[in-house]
Symmetry: C2
Subunit: 142 residues, 2 copies
Amino acid sequence: MTIKQVCEKYQISQDTLRYYERIGAIPTVNRTKSGIRDYTEADLGWVENVLCMRNAGVPVEMITEYVKLCQQGDETFTARRDLLKSARSQILKQIEKYQAELQRLEYKISRYEAAVETGNLVWNEPSGHNVCENCSQDRQNP
Amino acid sequence: MTIKQVCEKYQISQDTLRYYERIGAIPTVNRTKSGIRDYTEADLGWVENVLCMRNAGVPVEMITEYVKLCQQGDETFTARRDLLKSARSQILKQIEKYQAELQRLEYKISRYEAAVETGNLVWNEPSGHNVCENCSQDRQNP
DNA sequence: ACTTGACATGGAGTTCACTCCAGCCTGTAT
DNA sequence: ATACAGGCTGGAGTGAACTCCATGTCAAGT
């Protein structure tokens, strides 16, 4: 499979794909005798892996580290597991933050829906919309 | 309240706080006659707002836009609601992506837990761990 | 033989969101 | 009176993750 086909399949640019390979976020791809990349199914697996992890905000350095471990063989199972666990906990933390903000937004949107009707923007007692670590419970945020 | 106190309260740097003000992600803070910022409770509300939204990955430009709308008065209720709705849908999309990757990770971690025991890494039939848009259902990703 | 188009490479450039810094001002303490 | 801690500004610098570009190679078509 050529680089063009891979890019189309995953909706990313050739530059990005080469970039991932260069930094080791995917292992080196085999070339034809004239030097052109020829992606195997296994390569596509690696590509999918990096795209998934990036989608979840995992830093490329961490992905590169994972790939390196995978290439070192069976002695790195523990290290790989630990790396994935650490990625998981980062993602969990992010989701929590996002959900807190989501609640804040839901509340505010509901206030604005009302305001659009009545012409009057009112915040209820500050309960329920100050839901994240940064927000004081006794304040009505903008 | 001085800038130092605000920074300590929210665990951010003075530079960041000034930066947010400069770009309009919080409205201009009043100064003492000698030019030093003096944060009111209302200002803290704006600070909390920007921190929450940033925590949820909302781009600073969008926050700036929201602040601008707030300062323009009651005619912008609809625009503000729409902006918040658009922020919400972005966050929802992000959470979905994160959760898909989380499932992938859970699966892989479980495989690695087993591998650490048995010394053998096996992927089951490719069902359940290829859960995101990028992942082919018929492939066993690394 | 010549043109064309896809691909390769190394390195420079871009964007976002800060972060750092030099140089200056001011209120308070010694 | 002098020192100094803390704040101010404009602008330059940073790190992450791409993205763009000039130049070069190669295989296939005319």
